[in-house]
């Protein structure tokens, strides 16, 4: 799998087209906003999305873990969509997760969607600090480098008379925002007010995610 090299806070990261980020020095895989069980949570409002998202997201994660074999997996928030999500987490899924945890440390940061939810055998944290890096769902006031999720960034690209929207990795000097790893999740324009308030408008490094490749703008 091709990756895009990203330098952030003087460390080497690899951005993969499956929307995961790999921190080379610490052999750590980082993903965000999986929103497991989004379909089941919609179903309670009678919007019956195909109930296969949980299965597909977990498969995606497992494929990635098998290939990269990281020693840590950090989930930067919104692993689960809401309290109903655990309903879609079948017994077998849970068993598989536990199995993977034997070789990989799972660090589950709380997001706004899952701060009050528990899964047996898993612990979730408000944020997590390694060296000068802070992993947090939503950026906070700090002098540390922050790696976050929450915003599901997308970029609008106009080129030769055509306009497309692409999911992307994006960072400024201090804050890195991951795309959503989920499969039924939408996105937000990086130039929207919500994201601009956090990243500013200038000096952004943007990495749109293509079919089999992460690009650099």
């Amino acid at each position: 799998m091709y990756y895009q090299l990203i330098n952030f806070g003087n460390e080497e990261f690899h951005a993969y087209p499956d929307k995961s980020l790999y921190w080379k020095r610490l052999n750590t895989l980082i993903v965000s906003d999986l929103h497991i069980g989004k379909s089941i949570s919609y179903a309670k409002n009678k919007q019956f999305l195909p109930p296969y998202d949980t299965k597909e997201i977990l498969n995606k994660i497992f494929v990635s873990l098998d290939k990269i074999k990281p020693s840590n997996l950090i989930i930067v928030g919104d692993l689960l969509h809401d309290v109903f999500s655990t309903l879609s987490l079948k017994y077998q899924d849970h068993k598989n997760l536990i199995q993977y945890m034997k070789n990989t440390d799972f660090i589950w940061i709380k997001g706004n969607h899952d701060e009050n939810i528990q899964i047996e055998g898993f612990k979730n944290l408000t944020n997590y600090k390694i060296d000068k890096f802070l992993f947090t769902h939503i950026p906070i006031e700090t002098s540390l480098f922050q790696i976050c999720g929450h915003y599901h960034p997308k970029v609008k690209i106009s080129h030769r008379g055509k306009t497309i929207f692409k999911t992307c990795f994006v960072h400024n000097e201090k804050i890195f925002i991951l795309p959503s790893f989920g499969i039924l999740t939408g996105g937000l324009d990086i130039h929207s007010k919500q994201i601009s308030d956090v990243l500013g408008k200038n000096n952004l490094s943007i990495y749109p995610v293509g079919q089999d490749k992460v690009y650099k703008l």
Binding site: A43, K46, F48, Y52, G161, K162, I164, L184
Partner: protein, 810 residues
Amino acid sequence: MYINKSNPLLLHPLNKWMKKKKWSWFPHQIETFRHVRTGSDVVVFAPTGAGKTLTGFINPIDDLIKLKKFKGLHTLYISPLKSLANDIVRNLEKPIKELDLNISFQVRTGDTTPYKKQKQKQKPPNILITTPESLALLNSYENAKEFFHNLKYIIIDEIHTFLDNKRADLLSLNIERLQTFSPNLQRIGLSATLKNKQDAKKWLCRKKPKIVSYENSVLPKIKILESKERIPWSGHMATYSINEIYKEIMKSKLTIIFVNTRAQAEYMFKNLWLINKKKLKIAVHHGSLEKNLRLKVENNLSKGLVDCVVATSSLELGLDYGDVEKIIQIGAPKGINRLLQRVGRSNHNLNTPSKAILVPTNRFEFIEAKAAIEEIKKNNLDKIDLKEGSFDVVAQHIFATACAGQFDINDLYKEIIKAYPYKKLKLNDFRQLINLIQDGGYVLKNYDQFKRIFQLRENKNIYKLVNRRETRKYRMNVGTIIENPMLKIKLGTKTLGNIEEVFIQNLSQGDSFIFAGQVLEFQSMKNNLVQVKRSKSLISKIPSYSGGRMPLSTNLANSVRTLLAKSNMWDSYPEQITAWLKRQKNISNIPKKDEYLVEQFPRKKNFYTVIYTFAGWHANQTLGFLLLRGFKEFNYKPLGFVANDYAIVLWSLKEAKEIKTILHLGLLDKHLDNYLEETSIVKRLFRDNAIISCLIERRLPGMEKTGKQVLFSSDLIYTVLKKNEPDHILLKSSYEDAKKNMIDYDRLREILKKIDKKIILKRLKSISPLAVPIILEINRENLSKKETDEYILEDLENEILKEANVLSIN
């Protein structure tokens, strides 16, 4: 007293009024009256101006007067357009008021106020004039049965617009529901002249079906603009003849210029405005304009306050604009029915002929225009093919039924298969549609605790809505018309109309474009509003609207082929056309009526294959893709193809020597699925299916979802579903829709079945005259969306790398 036995209408309550107006009854009115009175369902075919509206109301008015002070709803009148419904009310008002008849009548559409709607439900009028969507809504109320149980007649106006689309499916299901409520209900259909009248009868009538037909003996006067200018080889804008068109407008009191797309309308309007030295009053009218602007134009038109209106099909139906003297049709007519409908907008009077001028925008269109005129002389209309009903509409109907109260699925199934489009609906498919409404219909039963409808414990055949709140969701999602994501355009505080989001995304601040006949500058986009200001810019873009393509009718296509082969006619054509065809005959060949000409020639470094099918754009587009696949298999290294209504051109690195082997029926069976997949046709239709079947909502209560978001999430759903549950009913439904509507499957099948024996293969040294128009169209892209996206990203990245001088490092 002497009673004229041959005309029972002389005793009709309206006879007095007719006499006062010095009008006499038409034969078809008398015939309809007789048939309906003896219990028949009837379809009436008559041209505009032959008292069609009145024909529908003759029996209801007669009944209502005889019944004296009938309370409640007696007659329902269904109109395809809201504006037409209002027009009907005005027409009905005249005799009823003047004769002081004790009959109440009202209109009910999406524009009716909630207060009025509420009052109508409490105290229904005798005659209610409404649209298919409003009828579906009425049927979804709990008291629908009481509301309709005395209904005596349902009149379907302009029934020819209701035969081959999802709206027709919806209407047919609701008519059957009314029949269940009121078994004595009689059906009356009113239609423009149609070729396959029997099909319209089959679609509508149940009881002693009858056809009543009245043909107009006065033929319209249609001619082709005699231009001194050179007719261009390709293109669709008629710029070459703009001065001559302007002269034609000056010659007539009031002209409507019909074009085929909204972009053409804006463009034509702009060009006329540039040469408008005489300060003629010219207006533009199309479906994207704000309602008030449209009404203003319509009003000015009916009062004769304008000299000319440039319009799309938005002005095609119904409304009576008495003083229109001339119709100018820009571009190919595409179909006989459509052309006749348009031409009929002038001289709304039976005894004087309508006048029209056709302006071909390229050379092929000249032949097409000529062919259309020939067919109209022979009164050879297009056939409207009835289609099998779509699944998604049934799903919506099931939801509606549940909103009205608990129901027995066996009764519902029996009722649905009475509707003509659903005669062949399988019980198994119907059950899957029930499941779709219940919980999405997935194999994994994950949503057991979240069902929308559920089976009663004591009787598994009875289903019931889980809670009444769901009715609101149904009501917000009713209907079968799905629009592209649109944004409102605001000039100051004034709304000008709607524009496709895709178009706006391609604009930057300060860019100017033409809309509603004005040059506007794009300022900003906020909350789905596009702010613009007036601009004096001379360079401006014209918004394009997808879905504007009208396919060439089979009938007209055949006529074009016949005419092309008639070389004895050529000398009567303009010199340039004659020369073009003669040269083609010398260099290559002019195919006979049932032959398929295939030309192959080298050009630059590639080899070109042109196939003249005359099958219409949809079928040709499909065939082009299938051939691309075929060429790949034979290792001809194909590079691309372009299709139009008449032909397909493919270009490849190697010469396609075995073209005769490739062109056969097997091509279709082998590669069709692939085609649907790669071109995302099914994906696009899946979005419509998911919305119509209420799987995803158009809008959520309290939260306006923009069209864009719907598109986005339905794409994801499609991908997930396709991967995990390829047999899901909505995928099947989308696939069937694609076969029916987007790819002209049947037409293509017919051609491929017999093509191999009728190919005339010409290997040429260079391009032929007939091939020039289509070769000129090779600018369009033929990459799928997925490929385009990657291409844009790749290209942009390379450009940036080049700029940074790092390409060599990479």
